[in-house]
Structures are given as C-alpha cells and as structure tokens.
C-alpha cells in the first residue's frame, strides 16, 4: 500500500515530464532527446536561486520555467527549424541534433558546476504526514512525505492549467490544430512555424516545472538529464505519442511500476523494469494507453 502511494506520487511528477515531451512530439513529430537535460538546467537554476538568494524551490516555479521557455524558443528557432529545412539523406537529423544539444548542455553543466551530487537542504525535506494523525482507527498506516505530496499537488495544478490553456485560449487551439494537421492548420491561417517555436518553449517550461518540483526530493547532478530523457520518452511511448491524457496515465503507470520493482525486486533493477514495460508497450500496444481510451473526447 505504501509502495502504491509512493508510486502514484512519483507518477504524478513523471506525468509532468512526459506531457512536455508528448506536446513537442505531437506538434512537431520530432523526438526531443534533450528533454531531461533541459530539466537539469532548470534544476540548477532553482538550486542556485536557493543557494544564493534563499528562494524556495517551489517559488522557483515562477523563475525557472520562463527562463527555460526562452531557451526552448531559442533552440527551436535557431537550431531545430533550420535543420528541418535542410536536405539530407537521413530523415532523423533533428533527433541526432537534439542529442548534440543535450551533450553540450550536460557537459557545460559538468564544467561549471562539477559532477558533484547536490541537494537543496530545505528544512521540510524529511517531514511527513501520517494517515493515523488524521484518522485514528485506520487499518493501514500510510505516511505521506510532505515535499512529495506538495510536488504532486502542484504538478496536478500545472497540468490543469495547461489543459485550460490548450482547450480555451486561441494560442492553445492553434497548437492543437498544428498537431492534428500541419497543412490544414496552415491553410486556416495558423502561423505554424510560430506555433512550433511556442510549443518547444512550452515543453521546456513544463519540464522546468517538473525540475523545480523534483528538486526538494531528488539529488542534482549534470548526468541526471539523460536519465530523465529516457524516462520521458518511456512515458511518451507508454501513453501514446502526442496524447496528453496518455502521458498522464503513462506517468502514473510508470511511477507505480517502478516503485513496485524497486521494493520487490531490488533498487538496481528499477530501470530494467522501466525499459521492459517500454519494450512491451512498443510491441503489444503501439498506440499506447491512449489507444485504449475509446472515447475520442478523452484522447483529444
């Protein structure tokens, strides 16, 4: 039971990472293999905000995501968009390009911040709520770590905000139109290349949010990026490419599955479980969880 709760809390955060990637993938049809590195950059921003100005990582939600939005816009505008136009033999140049960007980000971080593991010493890091405090006669004892729970709730809030943005605003509608059919959207007067730039920025900002939420509960080191890139694409595939709801479910499934493997098989095997579920999803459920949701309204 405790494992399940921990898994769901972790899954909520994973979902946030996955949504950013799935958004980029859905709109631009490219895999962003620098996703985790962007998150790492956001975490370093939040970390230094805490070290230098004692800004709580949660308050960095107002600092890191806008900065990462700008970074994402810049990357898309000056690096990725030009490559999309270039003629080449390989069709996957953009993917390899994002790997290059990731390499640069990760190693710059290593040069500037060394490869030491760091963590933010927030004073609430180890506090927790116990179910028995709220409900004296509870049959199962469950503890909810304070930072985990706060992060989870904020991640849900951010997801709702994003959903509102995509569903209600003009820009959001244009992004969705671009994702559905680029050519049709262009004919309808949507500035497609601008939408792509915004989407990449938005994806970067979302993963920056996840970074800020992860900081109070996780270690920070430059190589962390590649690990989270892998997690992000596992979630994306698991959820079904380009489906937001799918990414949320994928994140939750992965979170629960991982915390189960870690508890019952062993810590070191958790990543193997992650990839086993990934390959299984690719083979048996290529459409992801989204294809299981029959209602068109849900999958958007």
């Amino acid at each position: 039971m405790q494992t399940l709760v921990a898994g769901i809390l972790l899954g909520g955060l994973y979902a946030l990472i996955g949504i950013g990637m799935t958004l980029i993938l859905g709109v631009m049809k490219i895999i962003n293999l620098t996703h985790g590195q962007l998150m790492m950059v956001a975490m370093y921003i939040a970390f230094w905000m805490f070290e230098l100005f004692h800004i709580d990582p949660y308050l960095s939600l107002f600092i890191a995501p806008p900065l990462l939005f700008a970074l994402g816009v810049g990357l898309q505008k000056y690096l990725i968009n030009p490559v999309l136009k270039v003629e080449s033999i390989l069709p996957h140049n953009q993917v390899i390009l994002t790997v290059g960007i990731g390499l640069v980000l990760q190693n710059l971080a290593t040069i500037f911040f060394t490869s030491d593991y760091r963590s933010t010493p927030v004073d609430y890091a180890s506090s927790a709520w116990y179910l028995s405090d709220l409900w004296a006669g509870t049959p199962v004892e469950i503890s909810l770590s304070l930072p985990w729970t706060v992060s989870f709730c904020l991640s849900v809030a951010i997801t709702l905000l994003l959903w509102f943005f995509l569903a209600k605003t003009d820009t959001g509608k244009s992004i969705r139109a671009t994702a559905q059919d680029k050519d049709a959207a262009m004919l309808m007067g949507v500035n497609v290349s601008r939408m792509q730039v915004i989407t990449f920025g938005l994806g970067a900002a979302l993963v920056a949010c996840a970074g800020c939420l992860f900081l109070p509960i996780y270690y920070l080191f430059p190589a962390l990026g590649s690990q989270f890139t892998l997690i992000a694409f596992v979630i994306t595939i698991l959820g079904g490419l380009g489906s937001t709801i799918g990414a949320i479910l994928g994140g939750l499934i992965l979170g629960v599955f991982e915390s189960m493997t870690a508890t019952y098989v062993g810590m070191g095997w958790a990543p193997v479980g992650r990839f086993a579920i990934f390959v299984a999803a690719l083979v048996f459920l290529p459409g992801g969880v989204a294809s299981l949701l029959k209602s068109k309204k849900l999958t958007k």
């Binding site: 490559v83 080449s88 993917v95 290059g100």
Partner: protein, 310 residues
C-alpha cells in the same frame, strides 16, 4: 586509379608501424581504425538502410563481454572470444530485430536506445556473472601495440570489403529502397523485413567484433563504458555523421577526426571531460551546415574554398 585507392591506402597503413611511431601514436591509430570499423557497421544499417540505431553499444558491449567472460570464467583466450562473439551477437541481433524492426522512424530510434540501456543495466546488476560495475580485467596478450594494430587493421579491412560487396550487390539496392520509401519498396515485392534484418545482423556482428577486439586490446571492460550510450552508441553515430552518411570513406574520415579531436582536447590540461561539449557543438554544426557529412557534402566544402581562392 579510383579502383586501386583502397589497396593503396591499405598498403600505406600496413607499412605504417615500420616508420617507428611511438606507443601513444600507435594507440591513437588503433582506436581510429577500431572506430572506423564500428562506423562502417553502423553506416550499413543507418546510412544505407535508413534505420537510425541509437543502440549499437548493445552489440559492442555484447562482443566485448563475450570475449571478457570467456577469459574470466573459463580462461579461454579472448582471441577465441572474437570468433565466439560472431554467432552470439548475430543471435542477439536477430532476436532484437524481431522486436525493433517492426517499428518505424522515431519508434525504432527509441527502441534501440532502450535496448542498449537495458543491456547495460542488466550487466551492471548481474554481479555473479559479470562482476557488475567493477568490470572485468584480463591480461593482455602482447605488450607492444603493433600486433594489435595489424589485427584490427585486418578486421576493419575485411569489414570494409564485406560492406562494399554487399552495397554493390542486389541487397544494397534493396537497402536503399527501404531507406527511401519503405511502403513503395514493399509494394514492389521487396521483403523489407528480411532486408532490414540482414542489415541489422551484419551491422551488429561487425560492431560486436570491434567490441571483442576492444576487450583484448584494453584488457579491461565495465558495463558503463562498453554499453555506454554517450561513449559508444552516440560516438558511433557521430563518426558516421561527421564523416558522411551512406558514403564509403565517411566512417574512416569521421573516426580519424573524432579520435584525434578527443585526444587533442584531452591532452589540454584542465579541460578534462570538456571534449564532449565540443563533440556536441561539432555535431550541431555538421548537421546544420553539412548534413551529409564531410565526405557526402565534399562538393560544398570545395565550392567554399574555390570562392575563397578566387
């Protein structure tokens, strides 16, 4: 003349150790030849067949561990491991092909990436068999570098010839057909799955051989190096991207540039691991300005120089 070029180059490379290069230079040259071999292998699958693999470290590591484990557990010379690695890697590639070759485009990229990582983590965790993250140490056969050089040169030359023959044959045209338009190829009656499997297996076996050689040459392997995403899978891709996708000489040019660059930067004190930053920048620049690599876009470079001269 053009037909004789490979022979001339091979001849020049064969007499190279007689010049009396120092040990360090020999080491750099051996590495360059080894990466050429790996690049040639990747190029067959990625460049000609259009299946971009981010998981070649899986084959490299399989080869390396086959040689290493035989020596470690049974005391069998790792040179036998070189031979044994061929069927083992081929089998793994076939099994892998069953799963990943059904996928296309980005799905394929991601699946190969995942399988490489799965093998790395499995290897790290199977401590009784593989010594886990501690790695395996074996004694090297020779102290001097020259014998290693001739062996890897022979292997690379063999790989070069094999790929050349395959590309010039009917298979080669099928591969390119799959790359250009898989559906069209299928509608013409080409069994695309079969040809993709062939490309994957040949590519994997050559990469595995390079891996097995790595064990015998370095004398030490651990999962984080031989199954590494950054240091093997991506480096192989970079070798091909920099040199030239789907060109004969691309991997060789790319390997020489990458190895020299890595060693040059590494020799500058205080830069340390920074060489990967420069790799990343180089990769970005190449993709934007020379998407087909130095060899593939040679006419572009020549034009720039001619303009400069005029």
């Amino acid at each position: 003349m053009k037909k004789l070029l490979p022979l001339i180059i091979l001849g020049a490379l064969a007499v190279l150790p007689l010049v009396g290069l120092n040990t360090y230079l020999m080491h750099v040259i051996i590495l360059a030849v080894m990466w050429t071999m790996a690049g040639i292998a990747w190029n067959l699958l990625g460049g000609y067949c259009g299946q971009v693999s981010f998981g070649h470290a899986a084959f490299f590591g399989m080869g390396a561990y086959t040689a290493g484990l035989l020596m470690h557990h049974f005391g069998i010379s790792p040179w036998w491991g070189l031979l044994v690695s061929v069927p083992i890697v081929a089998l793994v590639a076939l099994l892998m092909g069953l799963v990943v070759l059904r996928l296309r485009g980005p799905y394929f990229v991601l699946a190969t990436l995942a399988i490489g990582e799965v093998l790395r983590i499995t290897c790290e965790n199977l401590t009784p068999l593989t010594n886990g993250t501690l790695g395996i140490m074996i004694t090297r056969t020779w102290v001097e570098k020259t014998p290693y050089y001739y062996i890897i040169l022979a292997l690379a030359a063999l790989a070069f010839v094999a790929i050349r023959v395959i590309i010039a044959s009917r298979w080669g045209y099928y591969f390119v057909a799959v790359r250009e338009d898989q559906d069209a190829a299928e509608s013409l009656g080409i069994n695309t799955t079969l040809y993709k499997t062939i490309a994957l297996t040949v590519s994997a076996v050559i990469t595995g051989l390079a891996g097995a050689f790595y064990t015998t040459y370095m004398g030490y392997i651990d999962p984080q190096v031989v199954f590494s995403l950054g240091e093997i899978s991506i480096l192989i891709i970079m070798v091909v991207m920099v040199g030239g996708v789907a060109t004969q000489w691309g991997p060789a040019v790319g390997a020489v540039i990458m190895v020299l660059l890595a060693e040059l930067i590494r020799s500058i004190p205080r830069l340390g691991t920074a060489y990967q930053t420069l790799f990343g920048i180089l990769l970005i620049v190449i993709i934007i300005y020379l998407p087909n690599g130095l060899v593939g876009d040679f006419h572009k470079i020549r034009r720039i120089f001619r303009k400069g001269a005029a």
